[in-house]
């Protein structure tokens, strides 16, 4: 019991203040997840329509669009890693960065040159600290991506993809993002965005899309329609990934802050007990001293 009573009380107060902060951050994260989920569900109809339309055009025309064109021997690849702007979210950014590093390694092993794109300050700081070249980076919107911001990212990726490989373009683009499975589970994932693999089954289950797609007419022709649809589709995918990542970030933050609050609570309990013990032993000691002093005085009087 080395610490003095005063020190123990001081430490308890400081832990209590920290607990208030982590508790506030936990609540903020929780309320923002609700908003993030709402935004995600409101953008669902658009995603659904876009997926259907792209699937329709792609399956009715055999047209080979640049965005869907698969290079036979890809030599250059780009990786977009989605991380957070701020820390205090547990292992959220670290997990995404680790998966990104693994992906880059795999691509290099396949003999491809890899360009890295990063969103989120954590990822940028990671690359800067290790002196790694970054082809493009964005920050400041990791917990609330708007369309304008995600379009900027998507357009940069499309541009890199459409450039010929010899001029610094890439043959394929991968995205590493953290998928929001539930409030408790968020999992980093790799998705290839470009070249597009158009799947007839939309990513989101569509209750209205029963039966085969109708025989669409394309006005003026399938190629023009596809030209205007695919960039929208890529932008939408990127926005979807960024939104998933934002929800995951907030959920991780909430989880991290919850355990910080819990830890602070148990620490406060321990410090309170220690302080009580110190106070009691101080009192005991004082009583012993008084009793001891009094009997010493009494003995002295007897001898006189």
């Amino acid at each position: 019991m080395p610490a003095s009573l005063r020190e123990l009380r001081q430490r308890r107060r400081s832990v209590q203040t920290t607990k208030k902060i982590t508790r506030a951050m936990e609540l903020i994260a929780a309320s923002r997840i609700v908003k993030a989920q709402q935004a995600a569900s409101e953008s669902l109809p658009y995603t659904r329509e876009l997926n259907r339309a792209v699937a329709a055009v792609a399956s009715f025309s055999g047209y080979d669009h640049p965005l869907t064109h698969e290079e036979e021997h890809p030599t250059r690849a780009a990786v977009l890693v989605v991380t957070s702007d701020r820390g205090l979210a547990g292992a959220y950014s670290t997990n995404a960065i680790k998966l990104g590093d693994r992906l880059v390694q795999t691509l290099r092993d396949e003999g491809k040159e890899v360009l890295t794109f990063i969103t989120g300050r954590k990822g940028i700081a990671y690359a800067q600290f290790r002196n790694r070249p970054v082809a493009g980076s964005w920050a400041g919107f990791s917990d609330k991506p708007t369309h304008q911001q995600s379009d900027e990212v998507a357009d940069a990726l499309i541009e890199a993809f459409l450039k010929p490989t010899s001029e610094g373009g890439v043959d394929e683009i991968h995205v590493v993002y953290t998928r929001f499975e539930s409030m408790l589970v968020q999992e980093p994932r790799v998705r290839r965005v470009l070249p597009l693999r158009v799947v007839r089954e939309a990513v989101t289950p569509d209750p209205e899309a029963k039966g085969p797609l109708p025989l669409y007419q394309f006005e003026p022709d399938a190629e023009t329609v596809l030209n205007s649809l695919l960039p929208l589709y890529v932008r939408n995918r990127i926005h979807f990934y960024l939104m998933q990542a934002a929800a995951s970030e907030l959920a991780s933050k909430q989880k991290a802050m919850k355990s910080a609050t819990d830890n602070a609570e148990s620490l406060i309990q321990k410090l309170t007990r220690d302080a009580n013990q110190a106070r009691q032993s101080q009192i005991t000691q004082e009583i012993t001293e008084i009793v001891g002093g009094a009997s010493a005085l009494a003995e002295g009087n007897d001898e006189e």
Binding site: P45, Y46, L50, A53, P220, S228, L229
Partner: protein, 133 residues
């Protein structure tokens, strides 16, 4: 009574409008197109413009779309655009300011596609506000 069909206007972040309609007029890259009930299934890209929807009670819904596309299926018609606004959601002052900026840029020789779209969007917004006024 004219035959009606279901119309949805979907923007990237929300469903802007949905309901029964008698006709839809939208501007595709090929020009204005009018859709009535039982139109053949079709997909066409839109340019930034005002679209008009006539509802069964005779009202007109004016909506400004920023590109996107028109999708006609046997069951419904959808206007899908990265951003769409109903006319009464638009502020005239803001739209006119936008239009002036875009016009100035055009006159200054900025003929990029982006600025052209900006101009189209702003003039569509101004037009939409005047249409409901």
């Amino acid at each position: 009574m004219a035959e009606t069909f279901w119309v949805e206007i979907v923007a990237a972040d929300r469903r802007v409008w949905e309901g029964d309609a008698i006709s839809v007029v939208a501007r595709t890259t090929e020009g204005d197109i009018g859709v009535l009930a039982r139109h053949e299934p079709m997909i066409a890209p839109l340019i930034p413009s005002t679209s008009e929807i006539t509802t069964p009670d005779g009202r007109r819904e004016i909506v400004v779309v920023d590109g996107g596309f028109l999708s006609v299926t046997p069951t419904r018609v959808a206007l899908i655009s990265p951003s769409a606004q109903l006319a009464h959601e638009i502020s005239l002052a803001e739209a006119e300011a936008e239009l002036r900026t875009a016009q100035k840029a055009l006159e200054a020789g900025d003929t990029t596609e982006e600025n052209h779209r900006h101009f189209q969007r702003a003039s569509a917004q101004v037009k939409a506000v005047h249409l409901i006024a």
